[in-house]
Symmetry: C2
Subunit: 410 residues, 2 copies
């Protein structure tokens, strides 16, 4: 085979070159019940467990696994070492003959949820999003942001059991809704089914109950990130959420990318978060941190292939490190597989809003799509979220897409 | 050994006689790493897996396990059959010689969390509790109950990873709090640490995403119940909970009993819930159900051995079956090990309130305990919740206690 035809010869500029190497879990049609850890390279998946075994690597115990749990639990030093090894396996010419038979075209594999989600927490960290939602949902309030918003990252627990991998159909939820003028609630399929374009962070190293995790220990605990769509039924949410927060309006499905990008692939994307308007309590104060806490991720949201928004993650007021510190400051423990979402990513511009609630201002200003107007999602709509980040040496690091199609209530 | 000395000769009137038989998981000092399924009988634990193996029972595959997950997943017919078998093993004289060596005194074993908690949801189903809390937290509102309260059981997701078994110390959480008059939030150990006396329901049979579970299928999915203490830091909660609900004020710890009482042991305790003030949508309407949806559980809450409240579970407005129907009506799936709490159980009388927030009216009216006044919990306080229910033929069915001691912030 001529060398230039190797799948390992990823074209320059490819978002999934050897500078990226996100992790996932795949199976192949010939062995459909056998889930394997894979690493994406270009438009192929390397069977990482088989590669480790073929090379007699000690990391086989972390990679020859049906999911990412062993790798996630192994801790930061192991994450670094495994990544170094994988980088060598896909770049060093001497390994090429061993690796090529272990590559599978992406379109020939099935991708699975790569880890067992332990607890799922969702934050609310975009000032632009929170301000817009406040104006829409609480128009009579004194201010769109609640008084606590700039003092702590607001979050809540979601349903871990309904986190699904990209590509899974999402059944339109039914539930109660009640417009203010309605005399009583009505029941039926949601008529305000929405997207929430988010970034989800995946915890690897657990922590003990009663022991908060400091801001500076973020990288010891968080392995990587994925794009996330926190599907939301706005009509169900609006009726149910006072006083205990979102429940059925969110719990029917949360989609995550099949690919987890290790934080090490995103070092060049680190950026300072927006200036803080109010002084922060010490456990949240990141003004003097050595490493900036934000990530410059350029997100794109498409409905049926038509881009409807380009939210910039760099505008998020609260960083993932602050969210982790907040989540544990009361002594709550972390488990391997904990997932926390950033909250909807929305920038300052109307074209940067990460949900239809904001993009259409709760349906008042429909979007014009090639296949018709949209206020909220219609059955059959496919939502796809993609992103890239600045990588080393002028490269771009792609995040694995998260995609899902809306199907009618059963 | 004279027959009357057998631990299987449980005294008449014992709350844990052969009519009860709750399930738990235990280990013994000689084999501390080996967790085993146990069934409580009187003041002993029967090693249920060893019993099944000794008798060549086909249920050994469900009982000779390190936790209850296999039994929970086995479904209602198996639950009934296993219970029948266990009842025979502890009551039929022919089995006595086989069983006696497999009994361990309760005070000689360590009890463990008996199942892996999948998702944890907490409801808010006591009208008395919700009314009192509304008056305390939202004194300026038009009405103490939010407009949705009598149309649907309000709930939210809690943190599954911090559910701990009875007997585990609870570290006082730290966090932000801000009284309305304070210029800015302050940080420190909670000064309003509270009890929430609840009943937790444990899901056995899972359900598919996109498929709601009907009211009438409650018994197909829910295996049993346990007493639960949803520890709450009222000062943290009050500052954080608008607009997305309770988070750090609850997520530091939730204690559950080591014993899961199967619903079959509580058939004589079923009772009709309070009359409904408003018509319910069909998926929640239990007026025509064959079996009443409430449970007559007589709860007692003690601080350092002194009873501070006796909340009657029969007064709960929303039943567990309605909660399950609500939780899944949007298509959210159930997993084996899902746990949902009733919310604080409070009756109409001041002595029936299941939390200190209500009992002391947010600290205004301290309780007089033998060891001093209490507004909220102090370090070193031990909270113990017990309960019994009417059983068959005039017996009483005891629920396993849930107990925990408050220790200082680390």
């Amino acid at each position: 085979m001529p060398e230039q035809s190797s799948p390992l010869d990823v074209p320059e500029g490819d978002l999934f070159g050897p500078h990226n190497l996100p992790y996932g879990v795949f199976s192949t049609p010939d062995r459909p019940g056998e889930r394997r850890v894979g690493v994406r390279i270009g438009d192929h998946v390397l069977d990482a467990g088989a590669a480790a075994l073929a090379l007699g690597s000690p990391y086989a115990q972390l990679l020859a696994q049906p999911d990412l749990m062993a790798l996630l639990a192994a801790g930061r030093t192991a994450w670094r070492d495994v990544r170094r090894a994988l980088t060598a396996w896909v770049t060093v010419p001497a390994h090429r003959a061993d690796m090529e038979p272990l590559l599978h075209p992406l379109d020939a594999v099935t991708l699975h949820l790569p880890y067992r989600v332990a607890d799922y927490v969702d934050f609310y960290a975009s000032e632009h999003h929170a301000t817009n939602v406040g104006q829409i949902f609480r128009p009579d309030a004194d201010a769109p942001l609640t008084p606590n918003w700039k003092h702590l990252p607001i979050g809540y627990h979601g349903r871990a059991g309904t986190v699904v991998v990209s590509g899974t159909d999402v059944v339109r939820p039914a539930g109660q809704r009640k417009a203010p003028a309605d005399p009583a609630p009505v029941f039926g399929p949601s008529v305000k089914l929405d997207i929430e374009a988010e970034v989800g962070f995946v915890v690897g190293t657990p922590s003990a109950q009663g022991k908060p995790v400091a801001l500076t220990d973020f990288r010891e605990h968080v392995f990587g990130l994925s794009l996330l769509n926190d599907w939301s039924a706005r009509d169900i949410q609006a009726w149910e959420y006072v006083p205990l927060g979102p429940f059925l309006g969110k719990s029917f499905a949360t989609s995550v990318s099949a690919w987890v990008t290790p934080l090490e692939a995103l070092d060049a994307a680190r950026t300072a978060p927006p200036a803080r308007d109010l002084p922060l309590l010490p456990y949240l104060d990141d003004a003097d941190e050595d490493e900036p806490g934000g990530y410059d991720l350029r997100i794109s949201v498409a409905v049926n292939g038509h881009v409807v928004a380009e939210p910039p993650f760099s505008t998020m007021y609260w960083t993932a490190a602050q969210q982790l510190a907040q989540m544990t400051v009361n002594g709550a423990s972390l488990r391997t597989g904990d997932l926390f979402g950033s909250g909807t990513v929305s920038g300052a511009e109307p074209s940067q809003r990460g949900c239809l609630l904001e993009l259409t201002w709760n349906g008042r200003d429909p979007l014009e799509l090639p296949d018709g107007k949209r206020t909220f999602l219609e059955d059959g709509d496919t939502v796809t979220i993609t992103a890239w980040a600045p990588g080393p040496d002028g490269t771009r690091v792609g995040l694995g897409e998260v995609s899902g199609r809306v199907v009618p209530t059963d």
